[in-house]
């Protein structure tokens, strides 16, 4: 049983329930894998002692026949989630040494469902980035490499640590958060499944905020079924989050029937971008065929305001971020700069924030401050909000026409080398081109691995669903997973 950590979450659940293995053994296997994977830099705050305690408690529950859905399952938690007594820094220097006295709602629910935490996972600073290179802990390295080329590749971002940890079998699943594609793009880059739920499905309470109207937590796992199991535990109404929806959470796993006959899948023409690699184009066509073969009806649709989504996103998200990050001022917690003789409060703010934030965070805080400032507010922020409304309406229109889900590529490319786009923010922002619309419209979106490119790197497809229809979305994604038969794993080099 040396490869317990390579089990899917669903298989591990069965093995635990049947007594074939124990959470202690499973957790130990994951902790060993974490220890051996320092080259990936995916787990930045390992919590082995906590994990073993949780595992033993889970084993006791399993033995007692009281085994909730995630009982004994080792997970990784993105550093953006506040976890009681465990470093929670949003991969930022400004939260140096911050250990919250509270537990986020999502992780509370996961632990109540019996989950075990192997550690906190690397990410882009404050979830701002698409390559995991803005982290104060340094970048994560993608477990995948091109053929025989050992160039280090990005795992994507911002949930790059979550993506790499799951792909490298350091844990059986992970939490991610997605503000503009931060779950789906890294999931696609490492060949796993990642779901961004409908805005309001998972509580944001205790998750360090980037852009409040866009942030949403979601599962990242090895299979669609594993995502369904994780989402079940993560989702639900939270009176502590005014934007969380007071809706019943359906049994997502039970909805994975694999039967999508009669479903209508839209293919939006605006997602066919100039200069898109032909491999992505081909994969998209394959996905279309898979769904058609499974009995779905495919229709060509138009989402006419798509091209305005990225610029609108890069106004709204920084605007909210500039305000959300104002609290990091060195007064109450986290980093505070050493002050010189005669320095006052203004110098304390300036030095603390200059030292504590990385370049990308500063860039977005400045953009956000600018677009909200007097005289520019209407031209930028208000306009972007109007665009957002139009984008939402684009989706509402096609859903009203009978479309059940929309199929698009997940990313405009496969994982790229670390450093390649780091100095070109605009190029970097283009990574989100297929994913931001979903956040702006508050819809659920899922990235599913569907194939490999010529260099052996995974490529993903994205499905976009109707609000609150994660179950249906997962079922359609299951069809792609079944038909694509994606079983490739990165060759272990670390």
């Amino acid at each position: 049983m040396s490869s317990l950590n390579t089990l899917t979450l669903a298989d591990a659940r069965e093995a635990l329930r049947s007594g074939d293995t124990t959470s202690a053994a499973l957790t130990r296997a994951c902790l060993d894998a974490v220890e051996a994977a320092s080259a990936l830099n995916a787990v930045v705050h390992p919590t082995p002692d906590l994990a073993m305690q949780q595992a033993e408690a889970a084993d006791a529950r399993l033995k007692a026949g009281d085994a909730p859905s995630l009982c004994g399952i080792p997970l990784g938690i993105k550093d953006l989630f506040c976890t009681r007594g465990v470093a929670s820094q949003a991969a930022s220097g400004i939260l140096e040494g911050f250990r919250p006295e509270y537990e986020s709602t999502v992780t509370t629910q996961l632990f109540e469902a019996g989950a075990v935490m192997v550690g906190k996972l690397n990410m882009d600073e404050f979830a701002m980035g698409s390559s995991n290179e803005t982290s104060v802990y340094g970048n994560v390295v993608n477990p995948w490499r091109r053929g025989n080329d050992d160039t280090a590749l990005t795992p994507g971002g911002s949930s790059g640590g979550s993506a790499a940890a799951v792909a490298a079998d350091l844990c059986l699943g992970a939490t991610g958060t997605d503000t503009g594609g931060s779950i789906r793009q890294p999931a696609a880059f490492v060949g796993i499944t990642g779901l961004k739920p409908t805005y309001g499905r998972c509580s944001r309470w205790g998750i360090i905020a980037f852009a409040s109207s866009l942030d949403q937590a979601g599962p990242m796992a090895k299979t669609v079924r594993d995502c369904a199991i994780l989402l079940q535990a993560m989702a639900g109404h939270d009176p502590n989050d005014s934007t969380s929806a007071d809706l019943a959470v359906p049994d997502f796993e039970a909805m994975l029937t694999g039967d999508i006959r009669g479903k209508t899948i839209g293919i939006p023409k605006e997602y066919r971008m100039d200069g898109m690699p032909d491999e992505i184009e081909a994969l998209w066509t394959e996905g279309r065929t898979m769904l058609e073969d499974a009995g779905a009806k495919i229709v060509d649709i138009s989402l006419p305001h798509t091209k305005y989504a990225l610029p609108a996103y890069y106004v709204i998200a920084p605007a909210e971020a500039s305000s959300n990050l104002a609290r990091y001022d060195g007064v109450r917690y986290g980093h505070r700069a050493k002050l010189g003789q005669g320095d006052g409060i203004t110098e304390m703010y300036e030095k603390t924030r200059a030292e504590g934030f990385g370049a990308e965070v500063k860039r977005r805080v400045m953009i956000g401050t600018y677009v909200l400032s007097a005289g520019f507010y209407d031209a930028y922020y208000n306009r972007a909000r109007k665009v957002r409304t139009l984008i939402k309406k684009d989706f509402e229109d096609v859903f009203a026409q009978g479309v059940d889900a929309i199929l698009t590529p997940a990313t405009p490319s496969a994982a790229f080398p670390l450093g390649q786009e780091f100095d070109d923010p605009v190029q970097m922002y283009l990574n989100d081109v297929f994913t931001v619309t979903v956040n702006l419209a508050g819809l659920p979106g899922i990235a599913v691995p569907a194939g490999l490119d010529r260099q052996g790197l995974p490529l993903g497809l994205q499905l976009i669903g109707k609000p609150w229809e994660e179950g249906e979305l997962l079922n359609i994604a299951q069809t792609i997973e079944d038909r694509a038969g994606f079983v490739a794993k990165p060759a272990k080099w670390w």
């Binding site: 911050f98 909210e320 609290r327 001022d329 909200l372």
Partner: protein, 503 residues
Amino acid sequence: MLDLTYEAPKPRVIAGATGDWELVIGLEVHAQVASKAKLFSGASTQFGAEPNSNVAFVDAAMPGMLPVINEGCVALAVKMGLGLKAKINLTSAFDRKNYFYPDLPQGYQISQLYHPIVGEGEVIVDMAPGVARRVRIERIHLEQDAGKSIHDMDPHMSFVDLNRTGVALMEIVSRPDIRGPEEAAAYVVKLRQILRYLGTCDGNMQNGNLRADVNVSVCRPGDYEKYQATQDFSHLGTRCEIKNMNSMRFIQQAIEYEARRQIALLEDGKSVIQETRLYDPDKGETRSMRSKEEAHDYRYFPCPDLLPLEIEQAWVDEIAASLPELPDAKKVRFVTDFGMTEYDASVLTADVESAAYFEEVARGRDGKAAANWVINELFGRLKKEGHEIGESPMTARQLGGILDLIASDAISGKIAKELFEIVYTEGGDPAAIVEARGMTQVTDTGAIEAAVDEVIAANPAQVEKAKANPKLAGWFVGQVMKATGGKANPAAVNQIVAARLGL
């Protein structure tokens, strides 16, 4: 119900070197909502607690914490709006006002710039009987208070107390309808009265639970009327805002100073710069806090952590049905039902406790007499000792008992005042005291006749004088009252003295 009719007071006019000037004033009053918990957290709002002890994670802006609206605060804001006959907005929304300060942990204040919960209303500001100013209310919005920075505890460090952080405030914004310093103070007094009647704010200005920002400008006679006709602000002068006033006296002093400062500038050929100023009560002057150029760019935008606040008309109706009688209505009723003057009605309705006290005294008794005793005797006595009505040692029942003894002729007015003093200082049942101490008025004619005869017999010279000059009969009355210890019925004494002297 009758409405009292008012005429508007004359605006305050200041004579300058180049002619007369008038004042135009608008106020933004910040009233702490009388809620036990904060606007977006469950932390207590108790005044005077140990520093930083009433602080929830969200108040301290810990990472990942989110605000959740306190329904109780919303209800109180709606109640206040209804009390000002204002429009209640069933949909309102919260915005963030962004600026950096250590006592503002979030780096923004959650407020309602674009969509306040309460729209236009009005306040009738009483200046004198028959004279009142109608001040239009532009809006009331809910917002968070900031914490407190303390700079004088240490030469090198500042301290922050977050107890007040996140406490709910109602900002009540008036139109520039106030025309003088006294009116401004009277406006705050009236608002405070309404707040306290409704129980929406305790009105404690010393604790900072009621504070005002005062906008002052000056214009030439006639200009204000042009503004009123068109609502075009260009007819008015440039205004300055005097921040954070928490005393009626300072409000008046600051306005007076500020108006004269502006007039001096204008008459000097200079212009008034729109800016925020602070009043220094020690020096009696306002000084610039920050100019328009230095003004913060607050970068207001809708708070993405909160959904628009939707309330139901039925809920508003429920609150409306629970509104107590408000000061204006109560005053009218006192004038109509008890036949008292508007002045007396104003005094008695100044606060809800006084009005309730009076009504209990007046119940089943003569209203005018009750008003008289409550205002002149009780309030006078309380004021002498610096007591509030709530601290009165004499209950309304006791005072009513004294009034009953007067009404039944059991005691004279003079004795009643003595009795009042005894009950006030020693307590007890008035009737029992009168009985025990033999204070009952003598109405027995025989006893009075005997006393009169005795006085007449002892003072033959005075009798002669009185017969010549009937006005001197009063001397005999006085002697008889003295002899009977003030207990003789004065009317009976008068009558018998006159008869015995043959007047």
